[in-house]
Structure formats: structure tokens, C-alpha cells
Amino acid sequence: MLVDPNPTDPQSRGDQYSSSRRAFMKTTGLTALGALLGMAVPFERNLPAGIIPVALAQDTGMDLMSGKKGLVVLGDRPLNAEVPAHLLDDDITPYEHLFVRMNGLVPQTALDQNAENWTLTIDGEVENPLELTIDDLKSRFENVTSRLVIECGGNGRAFFQPGTSGNQWTVGAVGCPEWTGVRLSDVLKEAGLKKTAVYTGHYSNDVHLSGDEEKEVISRGAPIAKVMEGDTIIAWAMNGEPLSALHGFPLRVIVPGYPASASQKYLNRIWIRDKEHDGAKMTGDSYRLPAYPVAPGTEVPESDMVVLTNMPIKSIVTFPETGTEVKAREQVEVRGHAWCGKGNVATMHVSVDFGQTWQEATLEPAANRFAWQRWRANVTLPQHGYYEVWARATDGDGISQPPLSPVWNPRGYANNIQHRIALVATA
């Protein structure tokens, strides 16, 4: 812990300490620094006046959690936080209720909201490599605004048994903000894709947890065919505001329908590849599923793991909050959202008797492709007692959510288990 020389001015803390971080790291053993942090970083921003954690704490983004409301912090370094289902009721997820998934540390440019001289490079298998400023993007391509779901590939990991490694997300690593940017397909058309182009590789300037500035934090991508569909965008704004430090300032990709790790934050380069991209967390077990179903707890050879692409059909109950007391024999509105990686939610059902009978919910049309869709159902609980509402969405191919976790996989991805809430009916 350091004593803050200027405890009355919280704004100055970050600047002062983060700017000194590099120098600090040069003079301090990494292990000792980490050890200090491990002990020092608290979960809430309720530090006693005059005492602050050491410099690196700022770069984790933890201080920025003061702008979030009601999130559950799973880890502080790297910073990961999910949202209780009842706080996801908005059609357009507001900033304060969007989950946070960091693989590394927040880059200084994002902390400072400084996009001066920022460029996006498009190179690799293209006829005309591009180096675009943010103004170039805004002026040379059609600007689009759409509501797009982003969901962490590991959302629902907590429900796999035996446990799988990684952050134990339950249901709240998902959101549907409104993004503004340009279509990646338009940019790639201008660059001119070569026939050899098969995959994108996304790069950014965030900082590896080890502090090694040469090391990639994460670099994932998507097949050219997917991004050329036109739904994938390069965004600079979320809900009408410039991207925030936690969500990718100044540019990010949004690949709707794919695990959100493909939606690179802090984007500065898209390398068009002539093969499946092999950047950090594209290979090994990361964001991959076994090529065939395996028994729970099975270790699968790396050669049998394939990249996770479309996220499965899914829904959540956002109202009422689980555990709410309601009147028996009176209609109660239950509602939430449904979405699907293929963009084709078809129907929505709920059960209040543990899945024995199901009633169809109304499903509102999507604001645009890959926006989540509002569903509503009126349920009447027959007498006083304990009930559970189970929610089940079905996609256009007749595939619906399972009542228990779907097929187990070593890293716990793509769990679309039905969401359940409790209702307590009073006489």
C-alpha cells in the first residue's frame, strides 16, 4: 500500500500513479510487485482516505468499476465482472449494466481517452493495405448503428460439472448495447480481398498481465465469410458515447453471434490471414470445443479441438428478480430476452412446474439482426408456495435450450442451460 499524498483529489490519483507505472516496474521485481498487489487490491472502491493500492491497480480498470452498478466482480486482476440477470432488463443495455471481461490490463491510451494518432491497419491478404485514422473510418464508409448482443464464450461456465477452468460466469456475461461504427465488410472491400483471404486476425494495444509489453494479450478473429455478411462492425461508440476504457476505446470489433472474444477491444490492426488465425487464445483449448461429444471430465487432445463459432440459442429471465414474492391466483408478467448466435430465435416458452408443462411466451421482433429479442409471458401461480420459472428459447432449426448443462467441454464454453428464477406465491 502507498500513502496517497493527495487524498482529497481522487481524479489525480490515477494519472499520477499510472504514468509512473512503467518506471516502477523497471525497478521492482515482477513477483514482488504482484505480491504487493495481491494483498492490496480490494473489491470495492471504498478505500480508507489517504490509502490507495499501488500503481498497477489503476491499469486493471478496477477504479472504473465505480461507474458500474450492481455487478459481481469475479476477479480484480484481470478485471472480470458479471451482471445479475434482473439488472439486464433494459432493451438496450446501459453502460453501468454491461459485463466486463478483461484478458489483460487496460491500455494507457484508453485510460486517458486519448486517440491522438490512432490508426487502424488492414493488411495481409489484401490488394491495397490500408492505414486508417478514426476520421477516415467515419468519413469514408457508411456509418451504421445497431443493437448487437455480445456474450462471453464462457458465460454459463459455472454450471458445468466437474468444474472447468476460467472465470465462473453464471448468466450475466452478456449484454445488448447499441453500437455505432462501420461495416468491416465495407472496409475489406476497399482493401480488396485476395482470393487467398480466409480469416481475420485482430490486434490491440492492451497490456499483458505479466507486464511484458511485447506479449499479445489476445488476438482472435473470424472467418472471412462470416465478416463479409455485413453484420460485423468496427465500432467507435456505444449507446451514443465514445467507447469507454473498459469496453475498448477508441475502436473495437463487434462480431455478433460469436463469442465476444472475437470482438477485439482497443483495435489497431486487422491482419487478413490465408489460414485460420493462430493468434493468442485462438489455439490450444482456448475458445475451442471437442470435435465430438465427450464424457464429463475428459481431457481432449489439442488436435481434436475446434474453434467455437456461433453461440447457441439462449434466453434469460430479467423480471422479476429471483426470489420475488407474488400473489397466488393473479396474473404476473414474467419477461426477459432471447438471442441466438445464428440470429434466428423462433419461439420462447416458460414453465412454472419444473418443465412438466410449457406455455408459449410472446416474442417481439428484433430491432435488427443479432439484437436480443424481448419476450413476455403472463403466468398465474395456482396456490401459495414455491415456484420456479424456467425459460426456454428455440431457434429456427428447432434447437432449444436444455434443462441441464449441454455437452461438457474442457474449458466450459457455450453453456445455454435454461435460466430459472424462483417466485414465492402468497395466499
Binding site: 476477479g75 459455472a158 454450471f159 468444474g163 465462473q168 506479449k215 483449448d285 426470489g323
Partner: protein, 137 residues
């Protein structure tokens, strides 16, 4: 309103279920995973009964000097090795197989630039992790 059914939530039994999930059992039986399922850490949140681990706070607080890791042989070595990169929160969330801990170790060394300690320390740390953050025991 969550005052009804606000019974004690000391459902420590959740973890015990893991032991019944016979890994690599010769004759896997999916029903064993459903046997004796507890109510979950929070009776008013049915999702807690479906989780692989108890809710935070039911398993003791651990040693605050070691980022909340439980005391035991290797706790200190584990702490200093791991927090060079990440906080202890990600460790405390894990309930995985022994094999997965070995795989994670290799991944951290090969892909994440973790400095590997001497063999003896590595053994101590992996034993500590497998003892305290396991789906197998």
C-alpha cells in the same frame, strides 16, 4: 422481497457432490451427477443448485495475507508464484481436475510467459492447487 424461505445457507454439501462425479469411471452413469443434489447456496436462486462450486463465502475466508488462499502446505509458494500475473480471485474460483491443473501450468509457462520455478516448488504448488481447488476431492 426475499424474506420468505430465508433459511440458513450453510449448504457446504455442494462441493461434496463433485466427488461423486466419477472421472474416467469405467461405466459412466449420468444419473450419478444428479444424485443427492443439494438445494444450492441460495434457495431463492435456483441456479445456485446447478453450480459446480459453493457460493463465495461458504468455504471460509482463507488467509487474508495470501489473498484469501486457504492455509496449508504450499500456500505461500502458490501465492507468490501466481500473483506475479493475476490476483488470487481466479484461483479461488476453480474446481477442476488434476489433469486440468497440469495443463493450465503448461499453458501458463508456454503461452503466458510464466517463470517456472524449480521442480520441487512446482510440485509443491501443483499439489496445493489440486488439494484445494479440485473437482476430484
Amino acid at each position: 422481497m426475499k424474506h420468505l424461505f430465508a433459511m440458513g445457507t450453510g449448504a457446504v454439501a455442494v462441493l461434496a457432490l463433485g466427488a461423486g462425479l466419477a472421472l474416467a469411471a469405467p461405466e459412466p452413469d449420468p444419473m450419478t451427477a444428479l444424485a443427492g443434489r443439494p438445494a444450492g447456496a441460495d434457495p431463492l436462486d435456483p441456479m445456485t443448485a446447478l453450480m459446480a462450486r459453493p457460493e463465495e463465502g461458504t468455504g471460509g475466508e482463507g488467509n487474508v495475507e495470501l489473498g484469501g488462499l486457504p492455509d496449508g502446505p504450499g500456500a505461500e509458494d502458490t501465492f507468490y508464484q501466481c500473483v506475479a500475473c493475476h490476483s488470487t480471485e481466479i484461483i479461488k474460483q476453480q474446481r477442476v481436475t488434476d489433469h486440468r491443473w497440469d495443463e493450465l501450468w503448461t499453458w501458463m509457462v508456454e503461452k503466458q510467459g510464466m517463470a517456472e520455478p524449480d521442480e520441487e516448488t512446482k510440485k509443491v504448488i501443483l499439489t496445493y492447487l489440486k488439494t484445494n481447488f479440485s473437482s476430484e476431492r
